[in-house]
Structures are given as C-alpha cells and as structure tokens.
Amino acid sequence: MANYLSITDILVTNEKVPCKFLHDLPKMGFMDPSATEDDLKAGTNVEIPIWLAESLHARRPPLVSVELPKIYKETYREILNADACTVDMHKLGQYFYELGCYIAKYDIKGEVATTLIDTFKQRFRMILSASVSTDSITALQPLSTSERDRTAGAVVTEKALSGWLKRGDCPLTTATMVANHRKRKRAEMEML
C-alpha cells in the first residue's frame, strides 16, 4: 500500500462512500444506522469509510460493491467541466483530488479520471497566477486542503526567489519548531 504512514492519506481514506453489501453480515447491524436487526442483510446500502470499502472490495469474492459519491456523479461533473474555478472546493470536498484517485477505479467509463485532470488543470492555472502576484490569494474561491498547501508553498518559494534576486543577506533566525513551541506556550498562558 502506498503512503502507509502518511497522515494525509489516512484522513483521505476516512471519507465515506456509498456501498452495497453483497453478502449477509451477521452481528454487523450497527453499521447501518437505520437498521433495527443485529444482522446486516445482503443488498443493504450503507455509507462506509473508503478504507473499509477498499479492503472489503479486495476480498475474494468481494463483499461490497462501491458506488460513486455524489460529488463525482454526472451533475457535479457537469458543473466542474463548465467552470472549475468558481467552485467552492472547501465545501465540495476537502480531499477532492485525493479521494477522486481512489474513486476513479470504480468508474468503469473513466469519466471521473478525466474530470479530475481537467479540474486540476483549470484550477492550477488560477492558483499559480494568484500566488505570483502578491494580493489576490484571499480573493480566490475557497480551496481544498492540498490546494491550500500548494498555494502556501508557492508563496514561500516566490518570496525566497525574490529575496535571492535582490542579493539580500539572510539573517539568522530562530528554528521553526522552537518558535512554534514558544508561540503555543504563550497562547496557553494567555488562556489561563
């Protein structure tokens, strides 16, 4: 498994996807919030985290069939294809791209994959142009987590480059973790 120790990947795989159970599951009734019985019957539709869905789908024979979450379905894909830059990614899905990579496997027509790439291309251009000019980052539509990280990275790099071009001297600074530790301690003191 890739990224076995990655915190981000663990959070991504915690997102829920709709699944249909193909076999009876004795004693597992609690997985379906609307069920009253102890056993989970074959054919029930339940939303389960994708880590569970993936591993149950990989069994022989598969225990579940994975369906597309609604943000990757036709309707939303049309919105994204029309203009991806106006979408509120924060609301749509914090891990839109990452989860999409998992989901794309279950889309036989391969349309999810194309949408992901197109969306990324459109939005990447927007983010790139916003991060080299100084002002407009806050004016962007809310971004997904990975986009936010990328923007922050772009800003830091841009600053470092312009500093280097000006031949500025680099003053010695406090190490980041020391500074963060201090800041937090101060915040805790203020709360008391």
Partner: protein, 195 residues
C-alpha cells in the same frame, strides 16, 4: 463504528504540524483495548465458522478494522518520531523541561539514542584529514560576516566566549558578537539578529 478513536488521534497530529503534542497515552490505551476486543471476537467466530459458514464475512470486516487501527497507530508514532528528530536539530541535545515532558519514556529513549548516534557521527567526520569532528547543526546558513549585532530577548545569564571574556546576557541588551558563537543561541530563540 470502527476506527473512530484512532482518527481523533490522527486529526490531533494533523492539527499541530509545526509542534509536538503531549504523547496521548490514554487514547492509545483505549485503541489497543478496542483491538483486543475485536481480536477476541474474531477468534471466537473464526473457530465457530466450521458450523456456521456465514460468519466468515463478519470476520473479514473485523480483520480490516484491526489492520486499519494498526496502520493509524504506526503512522502516529512515525510522525512523532520525525518531529523528535527535528527537536534534536533545533533544541540541541538537552531538551528544556517543558519539551521533555511531551515525550513518552520510549520516545525519550529513542531521542537519547539518536542524539548519541548523531554525536558519534559528527565526531568521526574529518578524522582522516586531521580534524576532530564538525558540528553539523552549526552554520546551517552561509555566514555573511564574522561579527553580527544581536538583541537579547530573554534572560540567559552568563555566557563565556572562546577568548575567555564573560558577558551577561540580559533581556533587551545589545551585543556585538562573533557569528560562530552566538548562532546556537539565535536558533534557540534567546538572541535575535539585528539587521
């Protein structure tokens, strides 16, 4: 639902990327307990599958949950380990007491061993050309000048320079010092360079 406790742990790690948290003994204990329960249930059901074939599906689900919990715990520890490694480079070999108490006993052992390893390596550097080691945690940035002007931001006390002079580092005092001698203090946030 399975694996919810463990996600709390992971979210906590995600929230504070730049700092180290208190080692979360209590939650980890609860997660391990959950895993023991799952394992026992699975053992019972796996033994009884000979009579009741339909139970195998349940066993599979629980097994996935066990693997998930294991993965999350390992990821939590691994990420802390990386942060502790950074501690050695930024705080030095002796941790301030308030940082020390954030580590569990096992982690502190690891820190000491890492510290010793690093020290041994740094001492061994350059032996063949007649040096007695290099401190790699120094000069992380190329020095622009030999002497720099610094402002003291917290009371540190006496500080002896290489030439034998002793100066008092009191809050809000300014000093003109050799860059090589005060950079460690700058990284620890006791001094601040005035540009």
């Amino acid at each position: 639902m399975f694996g919810e406790k463990v996600i709390e742990l992971i979210k906590e790690a995600e929230r504070n990327r730049g700092t180290l948290d208190q080692f979360n003994d209590e939650t980890i204990r609860q997660i391990i307990e959950e895993m023991h329960v799952l394992f026992k249930l699975n053992m019972n059901d796996a033994n009884s599958t000979t009579e009741n074939k339909s139970l195998w599906t349940t066993v599979q689900v629980r097994h996935s949950a066990l693997e998930r919990n294991k993965r999350c715990l390992l990821a939590y520890l691994y990420n802390r380990m990386n942060k502790i490694k950074t501690l050695r480079w930024e705080f030095g070999s002796v941790l301030p007491p308030d940082v020390r108490e954030l580590l569990s006993d096992g982690e502190y052992d690891w820190f000491s061993k890492y510290s010793t390893n690093l020290a041994t390596y740094m001492r061994s550097l350059g032996e063949d050309i007649g040096y007695h080691g290099i401190d790699l945690t120094e000069n992380l940035r190329p020095p622009k000048s030999l002497y720099i002007e610094v402002l003291c931001v917290s009371d540190h006390g006496k500080f002896e320079l290489e030439d034998g002079d002793v100066i008092m580092l009191k809050k809000n005092t300014r000093h003109f010092l050799p860059a090589s001698e005060c950079q460690t203090l700058i990284r620890k946030g006791i001094l601040q360079q005035i540009v």
